[in-house]
């Protein structure tokens, strides 16, 4: 498996609480992605990054923000968590956008009560 870690792996939080998820890679890949996975919806892109400090919105970006201050780290922040953000969050990396394989991290299970 590619060198991708996500932290935390599991989190339970309350509605209205800020939450930050971290994705860390050791592959020096340019592109990084955050997806959420929900039953019946497959994988939906939240935000992506194509370089340090270069980020853009995906399909379901409302309520989420991201930051990438270093090549190896991509942070996803829920400013004020809601129950609808209960999901499994996957980070992925790629060396050449959609032209090459995406390598996924192990995922973070987030429960918002």
């Amino acid at each position: 498996d590619a060198g991708i870690t996500q932290s935390p792996r599991h989190k339970v939080t309350e509605t209205g609480t800020p939450v930050t998820l971290r994705c860390h890679q050791t592959e020096n890949h340019r592109y990084m992605y955050w997806y959420r996975q929900d039953p019946g919806h497959g994988l939906r892109l939240i935000h992506y990054s194509y370089g340090v400090k270069d980020t853009d919105k995906g399909e379901v970006s409302d309520g989420y923000s991201v930051s990438r201050s270093k090549t190896e780290d991509f942070l996803l922040t829920l400013e004020s968590a809601t129950s609808s953000q209960t999901s499994v969050y996957f980070c992925a990396i790629s060396d050449n956008g959609g032209w090459q394989t995406q390598y996924f991290g192990p995922g973070t299970r987030l429960l918002v009560l």
Binding site: Y33, G42, L43, Q102, P106
Partner: protein
Amino acid sequence: GQQVMQIPQYQHVQEGEDFTTYCNSSTTLSNIQWYKQRPGGHPVFLIQLVKSGEVKKQKRLTFQFGEAKKNSSLHITATQTTDVGTYFCAGMYSGGGADGLTFGKGTHLIIQP
């Protein structure tokens, strides 16, 4: 936005039977990738198809990309219990790249011994 439709959503088979999942896009794809996700795991890359009409095989798995580059299929011959999981197709559209791939919702393969 662009959508990749994948059917069926669920497929129950007896061990030893064949399995096929299909993906369809209304617009031409630049490439299509296939991923497998085991229960509780993360998506793992299987293969990428780029050329019109391309067919690739990996042991019991056969992948096809349509002549018009709008559809693709994954066929598994003589399923085994190790094939259990969710199979996703993911397409890249012309002009895309940085925002990566558009994933289908996946086909859950359930195998009865």
